[in-house]
Amino acid sequence: MRFFPTDYRVAAAWPWLAGGLLIFLLLGFNRCNQVLPPIPQGETVTLTLSTWGGAQELATLRHQLVRFEEEHLRIRVHVSHIPESYLTKLHLLAVSNLLPDVMLMNSWQVPPFASHGLLEPIKLPTKEARTFFPTALKSLQVNGQLMAIPRDVSTLVVLVNTDVLRRFGVPYPSRHWTLEEMGRLNQKILQAQPKTPLSEKVYPLSFYREPPLYWLPWVWGNSGQLWDNHGCFNLHTPKATKALADYMRLTAQGHAPLRKDSARTTMTQLFLQQRLAFLVTGRWTVPLLREQARFNWGVWPLPAGQAGSTTGVDATGYVIAKVSQHQREARELVDFLTSERVLYAQATSGLLVAARSSVAKKTLANEPAFYRVVRKSIATGQPTPSHAQWPEVEAALAQALEPYWDTEATPEQLSTALQPLAQRFCHNTHGGFSS
């Protein structure tokens, strides 16, 4: 009995194998380009909604979706929860032509997808648009077209450990403080603990090297810009590099922890350990602090530079995929998810500030100080800059600046290091800047 041919007749077997493989591949590729016919009226439609977020946020969302399905009997919503590597997974879904019908995206995630025509532009009635923070809408526009309806806005504020300031006899910052004033307060905090061992030292200020969102306010506050009016990379210019060098010097001068000193400890952890006086952060930290902070703390706006206090305003919103076969239903879902009542329910969790100004005011009613700071930051802030090639821009920035962190780099050194980016991200771009 010859189960295994001793001569391995390739000629006999190969056509079968090749034929099988070809059919398999054709079926697979055919799936990629499959265009499904529109669902006839009256049949149930299932929408896929992708989102990130923690358990609490997800529970609120699911609860709202149950209400949506009750109100829209034809529509079912399948939630695709992607808590990690959200953007990577969306890219992989895009490659497979399987983008969810509705996706939660923030202002720097939108342009790469929009510039490839993967998102459906959204028209919002003027009356409706007026209920949103204008900066939120602006930060979700690409080439003047709105690509998402905003859900929430985030902006940076400074959380101040007032107990630490009292302990060191340092006065509270003024409500309109400047970078100079912050520098003076930092110095006082350092002078109050001259012989404290490193492991117990209280650092004046938190420090972040990535993402740029954290240090761009320093650049904007000193009249620098990441992009010029023609959409060319502009961070290598004197004003921007001077501001960046000033920011970088904060660690070398001891105003903020060096990377090797903070090691694996995050800035929020340092703040909770009372080893940080000023924490630059966003709304998302507040619930954690309420739960864990055993000290008094307050909220201040980012200190102003020569050009005023200018923080970035980052918006998150719901986009509709162009490949969605259920555009109308998807829009109904987006309208529902960004409606006042749903935003109110989500914003009461305390994790986010609703993109509708009326809702933000209502949900932050118990925190007038926080609301004042956020409202002012949103009013004076500018939309987070993005770009069709944002992931590449961000990586190139990180690579160019990496050798200079924790050093006293000069503006000229930074300008030289950033020069190649100016050549790379200008005429070479595909367009699609945030307006």
Binding site: F3, P5, R9, A13, S199
Partner: protein, 305 residues
Amino acid sequence: MTPPQKPSSLCSNTLWSNTLGWWLVAPVLLGLILFTWLPTVASLGLSFTHWDMLGAPQWVGLHQYQTLLMDPLFAKVMTQTLWFVVLVTVFELILGLGLALWLHQQATRSAKWIQWLSFTPVVAPLVSVALVWGWIYDPATGLLNQLLQWVGALNWLNGGQPMVWLYDERTALGALVALHVWKHVGYTVILFLAGLQAIPDSVLEAAKLDGASGLKALSKITLPLLWPTVVFVVTVTLINTCQTFDSVYLLTRGGPNNATTLWVFWLVKLAFEQFNIGAAAALGVLLFVLLAGLGLSQKHFQNSN
């Protein structure tokens, strides 16, 4: 007289019986084609394009290779990967061989325990290993700094200040090398023990009778006979170490200042953080060529012996 046996129905069809072997290996072959060979060919094709996974790939010829080779990070990553691979291989070879030789001579129960203990890290999941080592290297509460302080070595090393093993450019790569050697040396020990057990006792006894013992027997008999195992261990270690990703991702994310950015980590970063698939594919092709070269040289070494 026995009646002639009727051929089994399975073999009655000549085509079926002739191709049955192929049908049996077809699932594996299909998997290989779909998940190894096709992606390899696709990578080669993609390395000549610019593709961000959202639009259609754009043909750019050799541009990705040119950009990579001119990128200062490429030289840095190459050098670091080379250092990492050489150090891990050398330490694993020396420690693995030393431990295997010692264990081979011992017949005690404690030796068995040591053999078992040396293999334990191999089966431990790297994620948990990295977490434990992250704590060992922690500057403030880490075991290593506590030990060094206890023996008074911290004064000599860093003027009494805690060492920041994973966040200092001078020590971060070394810290990863130590983790890798600890994690994989048990596997090397097992390979060497198998090689040692394959050496006939009669050869060693004959050498003993001729007056060769100790170091002489080791250098003239044991090591030459163990040479194929050494070549195999070196090649496997080189190839595996070249592909290191997880420990870098879990412990240092390539930092500080890219001091621990190794080849595959950079590749993954290019592909799935920067969405520069063309550059990542070009890097992958270069690594493939390097590893294929290593594989071929191992074959050459083994054939020559």
